[in-house]
């Protein structure tokens, strides 16, 4: 890595969050707008660490009912069966369609969990001013941001099942209470990933901030 490379911050510039225009850093603390696209200018995303922590805490709390409560309730010929996310995965594995089991497991259990762990790890590494592999941590962040939306698959499956399976006495599928909790986990972790600023990783290890 070339040591003589400079960051925008070191040279008193900042880049607009929306259009990435490089702007001279304003002297006053008042809110200033990007001359090109009109977005609010910030040197870093405002309150990045506190916001991300708050959203992660909310997501962890909601993650519990999302996994414990049933997500679908199937009534078939008079018998009721409540399925959680995990029991749905197990059902698919036993009935032989392991591809679907894998998709649901990765999208609804592995990804949200991994995402929370990675964000916590990134936050801690920034707060303890870690200088460990900033490049890899940035890539980790980019992956989390990219992959998080795919957890919505399960919500869509439930939507389709509920809408489609209305066969009166033969079979009905209702959405369980976990659907709401799970949807909020996905949305909140998406906001959490969005509010984290990966430039903080580099700020604390390359510059004396």
């Amino acid at each position: 890595m070339n040591k003589q490379h400079a960051t925008a911050r070191q040279l008193g510039m900042l880049s607009c969050h929306d259009c990435h225009l490089l702007v001279e850093r304003p002297h006053s603390h008042a809110h200033s707008l990007c001359p090109r696209c009109g977005a609010h200018l910030h040197l870093r995303k405002p309150n990045s660490l506190a916001r991300t922590w708050a959203l992660i805490c909310a997501a962890i709390i909601l993650y519990i009912p999302a996994n414990v409560l049933p997500i679908t309730i199937t009534t078939s010929l008079g018998t009721k069966q409540a399925d959680t996310i995990l029991s749905g995965v197990i059902y698919f594995m036993q009935s032989g369609s392991w591809e679907i089991a894998l998709v649901i497991f990765v999208a609804s259990i592995f990804v949200p969990f991994a995402k929370l762990l990675i964000l916590i790890f990134l936050l801690l590494s920034v707060q303890f001013r870690s200088t460990w592999r900033p490049r890899d941590r940035t890539i980790l962040y980019r992956m989390t941001e990219l992959v998080g939306r795919w957890s919505m698959v399960d919500i869509y499956v439930v939507t389709i099942l509920v809408a489609l399976v209305k066969l009166g006495a033969i079979a009905t599928i209702e959405a369980g209470p976990a659907a709401v909790y799970f949807a909020s986990v996905v949305v909140i972790t998406m906001f959490a990933a969005e509010s984290f600023d990966p430039r903080l990783i580099w700020d604390v290890c390359k510059e004396d901030v």
Binding site: H20, G38, R149, M152, I160, V162, E174
Partner: protein
């Protein structure tokens, strides 16, 4: 590169912004400086570049060359809008069991969820699969069509483009498509499932939409829509 050279380049770039040249390509060799959005490192972007530029420090994509960007994204957005209308007007799945046939379109599915009392989830599906993609497509048309035919950007086009970029992660049609496939397999043993027209147009739509977005050149658009012009 020495520090003074960076400053020199920066001042050149700053001067460039104030006496903005009429056409980017009239000044070959002039270099533009951008800060990496992931690590804040300053990188030089040569003007006549025909390739992808990565950040020297963290590897983020800073610039990707997209030929014919406005024409291509405009055409693809039109196609996407047509496919979107088709996908929302026809049922995407029908369930046959005995004498029963139960058909669902995207919108009736959302209504069913609402009637079951899952207001939050039904709103979320409505937003991510209908309203956000629709807003993105209409927004792109609003931005691109005047650039193509009128040569003068539409009023507030910059704000519309900011909205389109900020909405990008919330359009989840491709994920909905995977949801349809999972539901197909899940119900396969329970009843006969007949995929409708909408499944196929939906399948095309997500590819066309992805192509429309990846042929978009944000750098060019921000430049053309610049508030200071």
């Amino acid at each position: 590169m020495t520090f003074s050279r960076i400053l020199l380049l920066l001042s050149a770039a700053a001067a460039d912004r104030f006496n903005r040249p009429a056409e980017k390509s009239t000044q070959p060799g002039r270099q533009k400086i951008v800060a990496c959005h992931d690590c804040d490192l300053l990188n030089r972007l040569p003007d006549d570049i025909q390739a992808t530029v990565l950040c020297a420090r963290c590897g983020a994509v800073l610039y990707r060359h997209r030929p014919n960007s406005i024409d291509r994204s405009l055409a693809l957005t039109f196609a996407a809008l047509v496919l979107f209308l088709v996908s929302n007007s026809f049922p995407f799945l029908a369930l046959k069991s005995g004498g029963f046939i139960q058909e669902t379109t995207l919108l009736t599915g959302i209504r069913e969820l609402w009637q079951e009392g899952l207001f939050e989830v039904s709103l979320l599906v409505l937003l991510t699969c209908v309203l956000v993609p629709l807003a993105q497509m209409l927004g792109l048309l609003y931005i691109l069509a005047p650039l193509k035919w009128a040569r003068r950007p539409a009023p507030h086009a910059v704000h519309v483009f900011r909205m389109v970029t900020e909405l990008a992660p919330w359009g989840m049609m491709e994920i909905f498509m995977i949801g349809i496939l999972v539901a197909l397999v899940k119900l396969g043993h329970m009843a006969t499932i007949v995929p409708g027209i909408s499944v196929f147009s939906f399948g095309c739509l997500i590819f066309v939409m992805a192509a429309a977005f990846s042929s978009l050149d944000p750098e060019l658009l921000w430049d053309r829509l610049d508030l200071r012009r």
